[in-house]
Symmetry: C2
Subunit: 358 residues, 2 copies
């Protein structure tokens, strides 16, 4: 089933990243977002597309954001406030601004704090969707730091043994720099499968594996089959025997670090979409030596990728490897967007009188 998540080339049009970035920035500006934030938001979305993370790129997210601005759920000009601060920490009130643009500012604070004390951690409450979490974690890389980003998002995941969703997909992203090799970049939801991938499964009528989801009553569907009308997401592992209590527990950790630590209600409880976030930066130079760290990362990533594959498999991958490969390919050949998405973008460009040729 995983192969369906690769776009079908015959239905896509390749758009070069700079044009797409320009158009997306203009669309954000038409939603009332200031110029700097609009450019930043466009970079977050297009970077996801460049890295092959289509679930968090332009085609999947931009329409939601535009709709959110239009109905007043997202604040285009938030008054971002530091509500509490110490030398290595801060808590920010996002004033319902889009996390896409707030998280990079929080990460800049965390990096500045880490330069001084060794670490910086910034929590963000009262926010909105932050896009691809690894974008924010990766901001630490050029400062020779390890970056981290988590976000607590609504309620879609069942607790192990539960029948009602109490947690979101609550992703965790960690980025660490290497020397010659691609950086280590892990960016994972704490559910077995991301919610928006199941939308694609339904559209294509694909068969899903057993233990991927639960039915409407909360019973785990253990046999492969089509997606039922109603379903609920399961924590990583799927069943208790396969370790779902671990995915469930990690999703709770994300709530603690993003919501409770920031002085906010858990995002998975209550009746509206809420988002709270956390970023952290660890200055490698505070713990050991940067050149040594990078040389070890290079050697280690090469060793991992050279692991003899198990029967039936071609190669062992490391986190961030496929994304780095996609970035090279899509940077050169353009980003494959579904024709229907390109039509929508062209329509919006025309409606908003944005002079851009896709």
């Amino acid at each position: 089933v995983l192969s369906i998540f690769k776009p079908d080339e015959s239905e896509t049009i390749r758009i070069d990243a700079p044009s797409l970035r320009k158009l997306v920035a203009a669309i954000f500006e038409r939603c009332g977002v200031p110029e700097d934030d609009a450019a930043l938001g466009a970079d977050v979305l297009v970077t996801a597309d460049l890295r092959g993370v289509d679930s968090h790129g332009v085609s999947n997210m931009l329409r939601n954001y535009v709709a959110g601005y239009n109905r007043g759920a997202i604040n285009p000009r938030p008054n971002i406030k530091v509500v509490q601060e110490r030398r290595a920490t801060a808590t920010i009130d996002c004033d319902l601004g889009l996390g896409v643009m707030v998280a990079p500012k929080a990460m800049a604070m965390a990096i500045a704090k880490a330069k001084e004390t060794g670490i910086g951690t910034v929590t963000m409450r009262n926010g909105n969707h932050l896009g691809m979490a690894s974008y924010h974690a990766m901001l630490a890389l050029e400062h020779d730091m390890v970056g981290m980003c988590m976000t607590a998002v609504g309620a879609s995941m069942l607790p192990t043994f539960g029948s009602e969703p109490r947690l979101g997909t609550n992703p965790i992203a960690i980025a660490a720099p290497a020397g010659e090799m691609h950086p280590f970049v892990l960016d994972i939801a704490t559910t077995v499968v991301a919610g928006n991938k199941l939308g694609l499964v339904r559209r294509l009528g694909a068969t899903i594996p057993g233990n991927w989801i639960a039915d409407g009553r909360g019973s785990i569907i253990s046999e492969p089959g089509l997606l039922p009308a109603e379903y609920k997401l399961l924590p990583i592992g799927g069943t208790r025997e396969m370790g779902s209590h671990k995915g469930y527990g990690l999703a709770m950790v994300v709530e603690i670090m993003c919501s409770l630590l920031a002085g906010a209600e858990p995002a998975g409880i209550g009746d509206r979409g809420r988002y709270n976030h956390m970023v952290a930066a660890y200055d490698i130079d505070a713990f050991s030596s940067v050149p040594e760290f990078k040389a070890r990362m290079d050697q280690w990533l090469r060793t991992m990728e050279a692991t003899p594959p198990a029967p039936g498999h071609e190669r062992v991958l490391t986190p961030g490897q496929l994304e780095a490969e996609a970035e090279v390919e899509r940077g050169a050949k353009g980003i494959p967007l579904h024709v229907e998405v390109v039509e929508w973008l062209r329509g919006v460009a025309q409606e908003y009188a944005i002079p851009v040729a896709l």
Copy 2:
């Protein structure tokens, strides 16, 4: 299969925690460990037993530690050195001391740093086994902090698609205080199943579920059956479709935070047992309000535990709940140790002339 991990009462003898703590401390002292460290080490092991985490208690670990001291692999009087330090961070060389006693000292440093700057993070290289990781994370609780502990341990886990182990079980523990409710305590290996549980599976001839382990060649065993002679551990999720790349990625994160950040070789690479660790403390008061945090934790844990169970299940649990229940029960009735373990303890007590009646 999970039910076999509960001890069979007919084969156990209940030992009260104070007696066990005293005996274990005396055994550590006979291994050359100073009195304070011996008492601390005993507390770590007996706390695991009290909390029902038998895999990391006296019966499973003490013999390994005694053997390690006797063959010189563990240093009973390590010269623990802070090799690098900033206001919120430190890196410690453990001088091959047992992490069981070194990690609490590192956590005390992290807590002191967190009081000042908001967070403290201490990495430890050149170490030995640290026991139940959540013991160290939980040290933060009485300071109204969130605690974290990770440890990178040897090579037993296959990378996703790989045929040779490149990572350890690499556990992650996080503890957060509540008010009236039990604290949140998550303590999870990043493998589907812990290695020492499989020893018990073999002894009892139990059937294991499909996708729990891979065979000697690295092929995942997808059907339930008996444990084969040779096997390899899989990351949380088991198969790629069920999210094993997430467990694999998290195990690599543990290596980065414990080993690479501390300036050490990855513990999963190379030919000998290595251990590197990390602890962190987050001062809740730096981010928001302690009373508010605890009240929210109480309400949230109650809400989670009151989630209507899925068909066929009795109740929804939260991390740390069963352990808190065990602590009450075992604190009152004693710790159930296998008769064979009690015999061994009595033998050691006699051999070392330790005056204790079990």
